[in-house]
Amino acid sequence: MTGENLALQYLLSGITKGSVYAAVAVGFNLIYSATGVLNLAQGEFVMLGGMVAVTLAQYVALPVAVSGAVVIVALTGCLLEILFFRKLDRHSVLHLIIITIGLSIVLQEAALHIWDEKVRSLPYFTGNEVSSVHFLGATISPQVLWVLGTVGVTVLALQGFLHYTLQGRAMRACSSNPEAAMLAGINLRTMRTLAFGLSAGLGALAGCVISPITMTQYEMGTPLAIKGFAGAILGGLGNPMAGVLGGLLVGVLEAASVSRLPAAYNDVAAFAVLLLVLFVRPRGLFGAGNAGSVREG
């Protein structure tokens, strides 16, 4: 294999991982825009999506299992919002973020005790472990196409939803000016629940499509949350599409560092670049000058 092809191979693997980070980053942004809270339990939605789908796939066909998992996890997300964040009005944002840390630990432990510590995976959506597709000289698994396609289509659909439907516009109104949105008759609470549901569902879908490649395990959520958070920050908090780019960038940086540095350093390069970017552009690569400052101020 020539050097060029190898580089392409690394790039593709980076984009594959990055698209999962992107899905997590979009989830971060959705909830952050609607509530100002960073939901650090975001990675657990990905894990839950994979776990539920693996379990369902034993009884029903794969497409049904995947959609079932997405719906179940989305409902779980809504439920968490209703149970915790709706009630806690007098808590500061920092307190709410800490609660999401607690939720993440509890969800992870619940998964450990419901399922177990074994590594599971969904079957390949098309083909199997050894089937491959040739693409510009690089060899990739068809599942990679599934991951890229699914995440891409979902993110585009989400963008369409946020910009061209009444509900989506109402949601964006909540994030840009909650008080004015309330005066215009938008139910803030419903919107917040919807945001939790959407990002949980998105995470679950990513968890399903990535499951055949990276496997699903109860512990997989935390690293994903960290990388997704990094992607969201890198892009600029509050802007879902910037989060997609940020997530992809984190994935590519990670793959690049794997190709150049010893394996032990695999996260170092990505995070060092992230630190540098933050120091040069404190609001991320595409962050607006004052977006979110009302909330954080």
Binding site: T35, G36, L38, F84, K87, L88, D89, R90, H91, S92, V93, L94, H95, I97, I98, I99, I101, G102, L103, S104, I105, V106, Q108, E109, A110, H113, S175, P178, E179, M182, L188, T222, I226, F229, A230, I233, L237, P262, A264, Y265, N266, D267, V268, F271, A272, L274, L275, L278, F279, P282, R283, G284, G292, S293, V294, R295, E296, G297
Partner: protein
């Protein structure tokens, strides 16, 4: 300079309300109320030791001592989070940096210096010590005191380097920057052979502080190490309490309540934040050094993201700005998990407790408990706020509420 502290001061939340269980009155009463938790803590500490000795469970003191060292880290975070309103997800890394610097220097053999001209001089300055390792071969290593100082200098430098740009970021960006720093430190430790890679470093020698006082994990030294750790926690609370009630503390409060507002008041917000950040990093590193000498080793997991997040969570569960609450909660929860009370449900219990504590008692469990106990003890214990104070209190609530609203994005 003085005009800065004039009027605005009354607007700023009274730091006393956050400190210990003090009722917020001046004069003797405040001193009495301020000293009360110290005495209570000391009595509880002595009571625990005596009780354990009586029941023959002295071995539990080891975990209690470790939990007390961890509490130092949480106390430092308490200052950063509760008073300066910043989140650091990198304090585990500072703890590890302190511990590792000390461990590397005190275990790394530098006998190749032996023939050089510097060696006798360094030895007479007690910077280097000749000793024997557990296999009996003789080593020339840096003395623990010198290693401690080196760790402090290194962590100050690193904290300034990370803090200077990072503290100009606000809110969640700072959290990310410190988290990234923590991950980088963790991975570097894992990859470095000098730091023992995944095994960490073992065989760290004991540290003769002064007199007969030795930081060591030996059974005989268990009680004195326990009291040493208790004394360090008490001293830290005392220092932080005084800091919080000083000009610096009031400036921090102002930053916490609103950074733009504080800056408009003439407070150099970035400088104050940096000072507090470095101070808390030093506390974490100091805890790391003592911990390493006490347990005789350190592993890279100390720098892991989970540890850092756990410190933040413990500081929040203790009430963030409530020094005593944080010290007690952190020690108690860490002790329970170090003793393995909850078995395989350790993390689950921790998560559930965290959710319950933060959602039911965001100011920490000690404050409502204190209020309740005072209510039980009778009216004379409840400090009736004077008219002025009551107004100040309601203003505080109003400003907090406003802050909360702004925080939720509803303002």
């Amino acid at each position: 300079m003085k005009s800065r502290g004039g009027n605005p001061k009354s607007e700023i939340r009274n730091p006393k309300e956050e400190g210990g269980g003090s009722g917020g009155n001046q004069g003797l009463r405040a001193i009495g109320a301020g000293a009360f938790p110290f005495a209570l803590f000391a009595l509880t500490a002595i009571g625990a030791e005596v009780g354990m000795r009586a029941t023959g469970t002295e071995y539990c003191l080891t975990q209690l001592t470790m939990a007390l060292y961890y509490a130092l880290v949480t106390l430092g975070l308490c200052l950063v989070m509760g008073y300066a309103g910043q989140v650091s997800l990198g304090h585990g890394a500072f703890f590890a940096l302190g511990g590792y610097t000390s461990a590397v220097l005190t275990t790394h053999d530098v006998s190749w210096l032996q023939g050089g001209t510097l060696a006798p001089w360094l030895k007479s300055a007690r910077l280097l010590v000749a000793r024997q390792d557990s296999y009996g071969s003789s080593l020339l290593t840096v003395s623990p005191w010198a290693a401690f100082l080196a760790a402090m200098v290194l962590v100050t430098a690193v904290a300034c380097l990370i803090g200077y740009p990072a503290l100009r970021l606000r809110g969640h960006y700072l959290a990310m920057a410190t988290l990234a720093f923590g991950v980088i430190v963790n991975k570097m430790l894992l990859a470095s052979s000098l730091a023992g890679a995944a095994d960490g470093i073992n065989g760290v020698p004991e540290w003769h502080l002064a007199g007969g006082l030795t930081v060591s994990g030996k059974g005989l030294a268990r009680a004195q190490n326990y009291y040493l750790a208790c004394a360090m926690v008490l001293l830290t609370v005392l220092v932080l309490r005084n800091l919080v009630h000083s000009r610096v503390g009031r400036a921090l409060q102002a930053i916490h309540d609103g950074e733009t507002y504080a800056a408009a008041m003439g407070i150099d917000t970035a400088r104050y934040k940096l000072k507090v950040f470095v101070l808390s990093a030093l506390l974490a590193a100091m805890a790391g050094v003592f911990f390493t000498h006490y347990t005789g080793g350190i592993s890279p997991s100390e720098a892991g993201a989970f540890k850092s997040v756990r410190y933040v969570a413990l500081a929040t569960a203790g009430g963030m700005g409530n020094l005593w609450g944080v010290a007690v909660m952190s020690t108690a929860l860490n002790y329970c998990s170090l003793r393995g009370w909850f078995g395989s449900y350790d993390n689950a219990v921790f998560g559930a407790l965290l959710i319950l504590l933060v959602s039911l008692a965001p100011e920490g469990p000690l404050k409502p408990l204190g209020t309740w106990l005072r209510g039980l003890a009778g009216k004379r214990w409840v400090p009736r706020p004077a008219a002025g104070e009551r107004r100040a209190a309601s203003e505080t609530t109003a400003s907090r509420a406003a802050e909360g609203r702004a925080g939720r994005g509803a303002a």
